[in-house]
Subunit: 501 residues, 2 copies
Amino acid sequence: MEREFKELKRRLAEISDLELVISLLNWDQSTYMPPGGGPARGRQMATLARLSQEKFADAAIGRLLDALQPYVDDLPYDSDEASLVRVTRREYERLLKVPPSFMAEYYNHSASQYQLWTEARPANDFAAVLPGLQKTLDLSRQMANFFPGYEHIGDPLIEIADYGMKASTLQHLFAELRAQLVPIVQAITSQPPADDACLHQHFPKAQQQELSKAIIRQLGYDFDRGRLDETHHPFMTKFSLGDVRILTRYLEDKLEEALFSSIHEAGHAMYEQGICRDFEATPLASGIAAGLHESQSRLWENIVGRNRGFWEYYYPSLQAAFVDQLKTTSLDTFYRAINKVERSLVRTAADEVTYNLHIMLRFDLELALLDGSLAIHDLPEAWHTRIQDDFGITPPDDRDGVLQDVHWFNGFIGGAFQGYTLGNILSVQFYEAALKAHPGIPDEICQGQFETLRAWLTKNIYQHGSKFTTQELVQRATGSPIQIEPYIRYLRAKFGELYRL
Amino acid sequence: MEREFKELKRRLAEISDLELVISLLNWDQSTYMPPGGGPARGRQMATLARLSQEKFADAAIGRLLDALQPYVDDLPYDSDEASLVRVTRREYERLLKVPPSFMAEYYNHSASQYQLWTEARPANDFAAVLPGLQKTLDLSRQMANFFPGYEHIGDPLIEIADYGMKASTLQHLFAELRAQLVPIVQAITSQPPADDACLHQHFPKAQQQELSKAIIRQLGYDFDRGRLDETHHPFMTKFSLGDVRILTRYLEDKLEEALFSSIHEAGHAMYEQGICRDFEATPLASGIAAGLHESQSRLWENIVGRNRGFWEYYYPSLQAAFVDQLKTTSLDTFYRAINKVERSLVRTAADEVTYNLHIMLRFDLELALLDGSLAIHDLPEAWHTRIQDDFGITPPDDRDGVLQDVHWFNGFIGGAFQGYTLGNILSVQFYEAALKAHPGIPDEICQGQFETLRAWLTKNIYQHGSKFTTQELVQRATGSPIQIEPYIRYLRAKFGELYRL
């Protein structure tokens, strides 16, 4: 079987090379590309994407997988070889089910719809994107129907982002969570809001940059295998396991923006940097699933980065970097400011407590659109009603309502949002498991030490790459299936103390 | 024929996409890539190179070219369509003659030989690279022999870089030039050396950066279709006709380094930026040949950038940027400093007059190695003898002798150097032709205006991309074949005045 494995890996490396190079083209476009580079760049990315799909859909890969199957059937489930064949087969079979002509139509439509959206959002013009959104919905249903046998038509789309998850499981999980969250939000927001004026002074970019770098380096982000650049919308991207870059955004009047974006993206990046190097250039060499990836960014951003102990350690450096701005602000005021809870309209600006309500709203609406219980033209109204129900406020327009997120305007409707809340839930479940193994972690955080936590995450999550599904990984790492209780306990403890609930 | 042209262009665009993406991978490696990115980057570049070669060597391209041949035979030689078929066929046929397995062996050898050289040069250890260099010579001869029917075994290698040129033509041209240059060098270097201490003070990078950008912008380098970054060894690179970037090097104790590197690379870049946009993503969308390209970098760097009139305009800004360093330095002193002629050992640091002697030395030695009249182990000695003959000095070691240039250590022996001197010769021949058409150009340069010159170059050279060979382009643009007389006249006039010869 050695020859077949070698040939399979050679082909997979070629596909991986093409895909990771597309990421570099995208990174360059988001950072350093001059405006004149745009038109050719789009074509170059499309060419490489097409070549990579052609190479993956090659029947020779199917034959190699078939030839290797009997051999790996005798190996342990979690062996590298069995996992490689299993995960490759999953992706290969998914790819074969979707005709290339459909994907071409979808990409074309997405590109033009995205363009419309960039103009429609500032103009608060839902009508402008409505016909396109209807087509997106039709294409999303077609996509789902390439994978017959589903329980809910959203299931295949959810599985693309979070393999192994389906609508009914998530609906059940989210309903429980929502039931517990709404009263907490009500109890907190009936109090006077926290004062976060200290964050909204002038903070020069250069110092913010230095500070972000110093913090994420100490968390464990490896700058020898990555770098931090600036862009409009923060993201993490990878060109190999030795080159995992992050991009952040500096707002000189919002200290929290770059700080927490950088930690968030470093969380994603440390996951990728922690993958077993032997997996390089195979489908195993990626963090799995939207939700699991988000659990790592959220763990570092919220559980570590918005933790009081963390700032007991870092606040003196922050004050030293911004003497004029912060000399009269106490640690307690700062800590309350970075954990301010409020009823807001915008998901990306939401706090830890309300964030999930924003997500569940979107999750429920996209399922309703897909199964036909909600029509596209009723979407703005449905959005407003739900915001009213959950937050007790009414969006003044669609700009910060249904038009606020890019997801439905450059991707499918379905599967776009559940990962965020799943990530929040899992972040605490993992953290609790790490604490159980190493009760000294909180004390270490107070001393700016993160090695024990990162080592636990690397051992239990990062190193495995895409070997396991979300459910398998959660079970192996925490000894339980996915649970919301740790997350609720965490929110009650943290925000109960902050707001004396 | 419309269908065939469309299909040919589709295939050529795919090949162009792959090739230009390799350039981006290389640019990133030279600028922002973290050290950990190295291993995968090499593999990714090799994968794309292989795919691009496979796509170009596809027999379908040959069939399309054959189908189109009768049609373009009826078109004018310089029509876009006839030129596309002609230039594509030339590259296609060249590619088919070289077995992919040979290229793979060559790339592997080059990569390891380059690695050896990076250690051998600082250690002055020619013995360490000698066996590898022998293999490079063998591979270079093999490469030449894929193109039988040559007059000199160096011809096919020269043609790869400078299509249409061969050893005998160049030997004749260079012998004439050398005969004229050696006495000029002797006359100048028998005088006391010019004082260039003014250039070797401390010049902070930030101001150098601003100044370089301001100057090349005024020359006509379009920052909407390019950008200037920093690297170890300056170069120009292109990802599309809308994205032509340059990289320079700042030395805080050598003001001339970034200044003239930036202008030099901007010269290359303006050539590429000036190519007809309709040629995008075809083999016509590149400046032709090493020598012709170099003529443009040299024209801007030396004829414009080291011109007295140019500095009459710019020197006040330079003094304003570096008040402390330059306030007591006169324009005349500065002008003499940037045109200092000296017998030196290092090509890259050489002045306009001695530079070509360095090139001809290398050109002659590589031909001698190829035709067997010089053995690899006698190369260091041959180098020393020639330096002694032409410059009257003796290199103390191989570090600044045979080991000084990267060319033979990461490429073929043969064809590596002639372009530099060809470029110098042509730069003046073109400039004279531009002056003949527009005698006001020198006055415009004194006023910091470059539009007339750039427009002439665009019309006569840049816009044509790869349509014509070097000889064709020189004939069309100047009305004569390649001539050394304008260059000699230029050197005599400029340096005669500077050194009162």
